[in-house]
Amino acid sequence: MLEIVIRIALFCCSLAMLGLIYRVIKGPTVPDRVIALDAIGVNLVAITALISIVLKSHAFLEVILLIGILAFIGTVAFAKYLEKGVIIERERNR
């Protein structure tokens, strides 16, 4: 039973990823695309967990934490670029 459930869950996650890719391509503004890319990263975490259940191995569970951290850093960098124009500021000139 669990195999069928995991296959259905993988199908749902990949369908969700297709919808988010549609939003990345079409999204009218840049923040739309960044939101969709962030959600794609979160979905990728879910797909990694499901695949590691299918393969019955716990060798890929570090990847989950890694993808989470990388998606967060990327989104923060994009948000700072959109708001301030630079990502890493030089020293304050006041």
Binding site: C12, I35, V42, N43
Partner: protein, 124 residues
């Protein structure tokens, strides 16, 4: 009905609920009208769905393989902390870079606050 069947049902429920929440989040991102409502869908539903799936994976490895994986717990905690923060940051960047709200939305308290701030600073 022994324990293994109950754990099986628990894992199946958690994984199915998480996958459906991810799908609902994607439908929200496709169908909602502007950036802010899309972020509302993506940063809440997808986070809860992925936390459900990771909890199901953790219970699977703990129950069937006897392997306590602390990285999954760390992943759940990390996603719970950072996903709303990244949603907030990207929404604030969208507002400050001038993305319009949906034309049927009725309140914009931040605009009023910003114009009050502008008046006060010009009066000083």
């Amino acid at each position: 009905m022994n324990v293994s069947v109950i754990v099986d049902f628990l894992i199946g429920f958690l994984i199915l609920a998480g996958a459906l929440l991810c799908l609902i989040a994607a439908f929200g991102v496709i169908r909602l009208p502007d950036v802010y409502t899309r972020n509302h869908a993506a940063s809440k539903a997808a986070t809860l769905g992925v936390m459900f799936i990771l909890l199901g994976t953790f219970i699977y490895f703990y129950a069937f393989e006897g392997h306590f994986n602390s990285r999954l717990i760390l992943g759940i905690v990390f996603l719970f902390m950072t996903s709303p923060i990244s949603g907030h940051l990207i929404n604030r960047a969208a507002y400050n870079s001038g993305v319009k709200l949906w034309d049927k939305s009725v309140r914009d308290d931040l605009k009023k606050y910003n114009s009050n701030l502008m008046d006060k600073s010009s009066a000083d």
